[in-house]
């Protein structure tokens, strides 16, 4: 069974590579990144050798790896097709060989191998002597095995949750705190390290409780073996093995339930609204009404807005919690918030899916297409403007410089104009199909379209950053003017400028979409939500 599932996984990877150039490029980039991560982690762990807190830091790094394994699939990758229990449900498979097979399949691939190779840096950074190195090899294998079993257990449990619509809706909201933790780890910690507020000495003693978790046990086992306490080392590794076995049993039980649980829809929802709003505004009003309904009823839409708020707070986090206050960071938050508000909504065709065909049959010309984009922008603007402005003021209050909130809000207005304009243009120029992957609550780009997502995000971010420059310059030029005059002028100019950008974006997108509707329909039809 193990061999069969490993072969299946390798075959799926090979078939994906043959399917398109984009998939090949994506695979090469991912593998290259895995190799770089392996080298980087190996180097980082090896550098710990002279430090007194090396075991504490190794514990922290092992723990971060475990968290990465836990949240990575939920955030970005979904469940590997070979590991989805639903695909195995039809076959008469005994649970034990199936679990071993699924574990083996999980361990096959560039990223698990990169993990093992990277973590082997402990043989230089923490282990001493032959015994220490031997225990380090064992500890690394157990650490990676623990990560895999933990991730499989959580994902299998989630796959069960994701079988009903309500469960899927609920799971989307789990994404937001997971995303917030992820952003905190990758944004705030590196900044704290570079500013010196986080150094190796900060971790001294941090493992007083982390040491009792499996990653900490594995790290401390290496140190024990290196200092001649082999019995302690083996006892710690024995505990790790016990945790892996317990998690494995829980995973098996979850898997057994998943294999015999049918896809069900838990109840159904009735809506109370009598009619769609904005009846007086023609096609634009109809489109706006549909998008407005989705903003309140589609959990993914709500999650996207929450992500914008998280991004804005994370951008200013180091200033809010750090000793030095840099109020200008609030402006950066507004820029990022605006850019993500645009980029997260830059693929309405893919996000709508096959239902877009219903809209496409009515989008018969440039005027209708302008109404389509304007209707969307009206809804996104109605939500994004108070959100970005409100969070900007909140951040400014937190950094104790309320005046900066006005500048940030003005920059945010201009940024939103640019972001919505680019979102309209990208929704035609870089439309891509989406898919829901088992284990991942939010829809993601279909395989082979990762480059489109990156292109849209960087394109929107760069465009917004450039577009807000005039407002920032205006803010600086008028910094000595009385606020009573300055702020209304700044706000008015930014709002008018942002509206002008949206106006241009709607027109440009309508012109581009006019000759591309059949292609957009094909993108929509390829979407599977």
């Amino acid at each position: 069974m193990a061999r069969l599932l490993v072969e299946l996984k390798l075959r799926l990877v090979a078939n994906a590579l043959r399917s398109s150039t984009a998939a090949r490029v994506s695979f090469i980039l991912s593998t290259t990144f895995a190799v770089l991560v392996a080298i980087g982690i190996f180097w980082l762990l090896a550098q710990l050798r002279p430090l007194s807190a090396s075991v504490d830091l190794t514990t922290v790094i092992f723990s971060i790896f475990a968290i990465g394994w836990l949240i990575g699939p939920i955030l970005a990758f979904g469940l590997d097709g070979t590991l989805d229990p639903a695909t195995m449900a039809l076959y008469p498979l005994r649970t034990r060989p199936l679990v071993i097979g699924l574990l083996a399949a999980s361990a096959a691939g560039a990223w698990p191998v990169a993990n093992v190779l990277g973590l082997l840096g402990v043989t230089i950074g923490l282990a001493h002597g032959a015994l220490g190195v031997l225990v380090a090899l064992l500890a690394v294998v157990l650490q990676v095995l623990f990560c895999i079993v933990l991730a499989r257990f959580v994902i299998t449990s989630m796959a069960r949750l994701l079988r009903s619509r309500r469960g899927k809706d609920l799971a989307v909201f789990l994404f937001v705190p997971v995303f917030a933790i992820f952003e905190f780890l990758i944004q705030v910690i590196p900044r704290a390290v570079s500013s010196g507020s986080l150094s190796p000495s900060s971790f001294a003693g941090v493992d007083s409780w982390l040491r009792w978790l499996p990653p900490g046990l594995a790290a401390h086992a290496i140190q024990d073996a290196s200092t001649g306490h082999l019995a302690d080392a083996m006892a710690r590794l024995g505990l790790v093995v016990a945790v892996i076995i317990v998690l494995g049993v829980l995973w098996v039980r979850s898997l057994q339930r998943a294999l015999v649980t049918t896809d069900t829809t838990t109840g159904s929802s009735r809506v109370h609204n009598a009619a769609l709003p904005l009846a007086r505004f023609g096609l634009r009003g109809a489109v706006a009404a549909r998008f407005w309904r989705y903003q309140s009823r589609d959990p993914a839409s709500l999650a996207y807005w929450a992500i914008v708020v998280v991004i804005m707070f994370v951008c200013s986090a180091s200033t809010i919690v750090g000793p030095d206050k840099h109020p200008a960071v609030v402006v950066a938050s507004a820029v990022f918030g605006a850019a993500f508000a645009g980029s997260l909504h830059a693929n309405p065709v893919g996000l709508t899916g096959p239902a877009f065909v219903l809209e496409a049959t009515a989008l018969t010309g440039r005027r209708q297409l302008r109404s389509y984009f304007a209707g969307q922008d009206f809804v996104f603007g109605a939500i994004a403007i108070p959100l970005v402005v409100g969070v900007s003021f909140a951040l400014a209050a937190l950094v104790k410089d309320p005046k900066e909130g006005f500048v940030a809000a003005a920059v945010g207005l201009a940024g939103l104009g640019a972001a919505l304009a680019m979102s309209n243009i990208f929704s035609v120029a870089l439309a891509y199909p989406m898919q829901k992957r088992a284990g991942s609550p939010l829809p993601q780009q279909a395989q082979g379209f990762g480059g489109y997502t990156v292109g849209v995000q960087f394109g929107t971010l760069a465009s917004v950053a450039v577009a807000v420059i005039p407002v920032i310059i205006l803010g600086n030029l008028t910094s000595n003017v009385s606020p009573a005059v300055r702020l209304p002028v700044l706000f008015g100019c930014a709002a008018a400028y942002g509206f002008g950008l949206v106006w241009l974006g709607v027109r440009a997108a309508a012109i581009a979409a006019e000759g591309k509707l059949p292609e957009l329909c094909q993108v929509a039809m390829r979407t599977s939500l």
Partner: protein
């Protein structure tokens, strides 16, 4: 034969090296209930997608009620209604909202769209579920809701891709009666299917497609030539079953 509502000439479409539609010609008279039948992968969905402006053809011309679909898509789209095979709708709108939305997309005033939506929901036996989200609809309910969306602007020509696939007999009967009523008023319906009994029962015109080519077209009686449509279809397309001698192990008596 009356004025053609649907005219297709030399329609072609290839995906990479595979020719999905290999130059089809078709003429459906106004007021017909026409069936496009063929085995899986014959090119039915690809042909219907091109006829409705959802997929760009490599070559060929399609005229709907006098409007060239690809030269004058604005006019052509105004006279058609479309139900796609999967009948995917806006999951987070209720049944009544999705029909109203379809009507407003087609330029109907909101009051008129709501009124027509209510009437269609009633005829389609969806009134009790009108306020439920489409996400909670069964396959049959989705097909009926999709049909309602396609009909709300009263199109003279209706295209349906596998309209009764996965639909229970009661819902299928509702859909059949609605289509017959539509055709009796002079509208034209073209639908794809591989259920021969259904096509023979309801269609007055049938076209058989296989490997992207029309093998036969005409009135249902002409195409079936005294046989059942099922038999005529198999005769035209050819049996696909391979020699079964290699399956000596298959069956309860074998071990």
């Amino acid at each position: 034969m009356g004025e053609p509502a649907i005219e297709v000439q030399g329609l072609r479409k290839s995906f990479d090296k595979k020719e999905a539609v290999a130059g089809i010609d078709l003429e459906i008279a106004a007021g017909s209930l026409a069936g496009l039948v063929g085995p899986n992968g014959a090119g039915k969905t690809t042909s219907l997608s091109m006829m409705t402006g959802l997929l760009r053809p490599d070559a060929g011309r399609i005229v709907i009620n006098g409007h060239d679909v690809w030269a004058d898509p604005v006019a052509a789209k105004a006279v058609i209604g479309v139900v796609t095979a999967e009948a995917r709708l806006f999951e987070r709108l209720s049944g009544e909202e999705v029909l109203e939305y379809a009507g407003r997309l087609r330029g109907l005033p909101a009051v008129e769209a709501r009124s027509r939506a209510a009437q269609l929901l009633d005829v389609l036996d969806l009134t009790a579920d009108a306020k439920r989200l489409v996400a909670d609809y069964s396959t049959g309910m989705r097909k009926k809701a999709a049909l309602g969306c396609a009909l709300i602007h009263n199109p003279p020509v209706l295209f349906l891709d596998e309209p009764l696939e996965g639909v229970d007999p009661i819902s299928a009967d509702v859909i059949r009666r609605l289509l017959a009523r539509l055709v009796s008023t002079g509208s034209t319906v073209l639908f794809s299917s591989h259920v021969m009994e259904l096509v023979q029962q309801v269609c007055d015109h049938v076209s058989v497609i296989d490997k992207g080519k029309i093998l036969a077209t005409g009135t249902t009686d002409e195409v079936r030539g005294g046989k059942t449509l099922q038999q005529a279809f198999i005769d035209l397309v050819g049996p696909r079953a391979k020699d079964e001698e290699g399956l000596s192990w298959l069956g309860s008596s074998s071990n």
